[in-house]
Symmetry: C2
Subunit: 368 residues, 2 copies
């Protein structure tokens, strides 16, 4: 199967093999050595000297950890949303009793720094702003550098960024952009199976955490930090996924982060060009189109389920569907982490064939 969803991504054989390592004591020196090495690797990719916390959970667990540790019940917070994962941040904040000021932008567009500035001008009591870097549901990458300049540079807020599907595929230099908490997940650009969430935590974030009163235990970042300093985790970690992430990091550094970013930028541009050339329309504002996932409008008259089933059964391609409000209206091609140009091209060729058969391609493309 050609797995072209935006995570979990295909995993290289070296990483799959590493998963099969034998069990070790998670409170012994072997585990400490692996955790310390993985932590150093993560810091390098995150571009940070901040603390690094690794949790056994999906990326959403990492988002919840970031929120439960920085929020107090009733606290007013700003959450910027441009899609389903922004909405998820809002839902988590509300689940924890926050007084959420949602700053939402239409699906397919990026967050506008000017609008964020306007909101923060009047929201003087807000301490923390939460936002998504790369919105996997719509294929949009926010201009985080500009947004952070407003949020931190002009208003000096604590910034928490969902970088689950960006970090390690797209540049997110945490220290340079002054991001207080950045979160990622092992099943994205890290070329590792799901099971671990990773968070960088700045000194400013620790100050916010010290004041936050929402309940947390499993996701308590302070306990996690105290354990990490001893080369441990507070609770039994997913040791096998640590083995995988360790190898995934080796592969990233072997390729070189610069090459990894370039490879994603180039495949993103290639995918968008090919999609447009066949007569389909991109869902995302192209100025902010993501280089890890491309969202494509499903043409009038084409049924997503029928299209998806044919793609899967006749071409062995597994695509991402639309989530939430845009279910059935778009489909998504993931191109992050471990992929070859051929896999993407095979996927695009299959899309062209099936869409053509289903009458989803405009005349110009069909005649091309």
């Amino acid at each position: 199967m050609n797995l072209r969803i935006p995570g979990p991504t295909p995993v290289p054989q070296e990483v799959l093999s590493a998963l099969s390592g034998p069990m070790i004591n998670h409170r012994g020196p072997e585990f400490a050595a692996i955790q310390n090495k993985v932590t150093e690797g993560l810091k390098k990719v995150f571009g940070t000297k901040n603390d690094m916390i690794i949790l056994t959970s999906s990326g959403t667990g990492g988002l919840e950890a970031a929120m439960a540790n920085t929020l107090s019940p009733g606290e007013r917070v700003v959450v910027i949303s441009i899609g389903e994962f922004g909405e998820r941040l809002i839902k988590i904040a509300k689940a924890y009793g926050a007084d959420v000021v949602p700053v939402s932008f239409p699906y397919g567009s990026a967050a506008d720094p000017d609008k964020v500035r306007q909101v923060l001008k009047s929201e003087t009591k807000v301490n923390t702003v939460y936002l998504t870097h790369n919105e996997t549901s719509t294929g949009v990458t926010n201009d985080l550098r500009s947004l952070a300049k407003v949020i931190k540079g002009e208003f000096n807020k604590t910034i928490v960024v969902d970088g689950v599907s960006s970090i390690s595929s797209l540049p997110l230099p945490v220290d340079e952009w002054e991001i207080d908490i950045a979160i990622s997940g092992s099943q994205k650009g890290w070329m590792t199976p799901p099971g671990l969430a990773m968070l960088s935590v700045s000194p400013r974030a620790w100050e916010t955490i010290a004041k936050a009163k929402c309940p947390r235990f499993y996701f308590d970042l302070k306990m996690a930090k105290e354990s990490a300093d001893k080369g441990e985790t507070p609770w039994t970690p997913a040791i096998s996924i640590f083995y995988g992430l360790n190898t995934g990091l080796d592969l990233l550094f072997k390729e070189g982060l610069g090459s990894v970013y370039e490879r994603h930028a180039s495949i993103g541009a290639h995918t968008r060009q090919a999609v447009k050339a066949m007569g389909l329309q991109l869902f995302a504002d192209e100025r902010y189109a993501s280089n890890t996932v491309t969202a494509i409008k499903i043409p009038e008259g084409v049924d997503w389920k029928a299209f998806n089933t044919t793609m899967r059964k006749e071409h062995g391609v597994v695509l991402g569907g639309g989530q939430g409000a845009i279910a059935g209206k778009i489909f998504r091609i993931g191109h992050l982490g471990f992929f070859t140009q051929k896999e993407i091209d095979d996927c695009l060729a299959a899309v062209k064939t099936v869409m053509g058969t289903m009458g989803g391609l405009k005349a110009p493309a069909r005649s091309a």
Copy 2:
């Protein structure tokens, strides 16, 4: 290394190999098939027709899920504790703002049903009672059948049981004993690496959950149940560990649950007999000694760290230490899940040699 800690346990090669399966769409038919099969297998081992929820987290995440979903802030609850994992239940309940009535028994002893009855007589407002089945920190197995008869049979409370280190190694027939929520973790008797927690949830538990007001999102059991009914999980699951658990369950059924329980009972008795024969003292009240882990007092004059280092470096045996209040006072031999008689005997022989050298064995044993 002879890994003799009470979890993570050694994992059979078949399970380690299964971990290396390729990534699949966690919202597609292949994952649904595996989750459905694993769920059926878990229900068989738990002895229940109740709902089964699988979470990507350690066992502690499962405990937190059970608490966050059944508690409201300020709610009065009874938590029975006989060791560190009972104390952990108390800590989680307090983290979530519960008004905890701790019913604690000395480390090394089991919970006394009479004392529990006395407490419940006066605690008429309490809806839910939390307790540990097998206390890994002290090597004691509570008489859960008798305790449940009091808690449920006499007082009709919702019962939540930490069965992390018992279920699949020791009998815990959930429906027969009327346990509302039972929790286990993949890295124990399931012969699988850590990363998944499993919870059975009774209709009575769902009623309690519907009233509970503590915040939860990642661990929201209702959302997990709605997804499970579609063969999905709300958040990206640790797919590789699902592969492992699937194979671990196959191995359990191949051996037969009756044989698995017998094997644990027999190795438990054997270990205790051997430990006493060499002149060491058991930490646990022998009437309630656990068949998954044996806790042994460290004799006067023997230093845990020196003992442990020698065991590790000279004999390749990794033991469990004492946790919390009994750190440095006991050591523990894990004998659960995947083990051979020879591994246990090698471990016992090494303990005898090293304790002998360090002057930890009484004269009778030394002359034996």
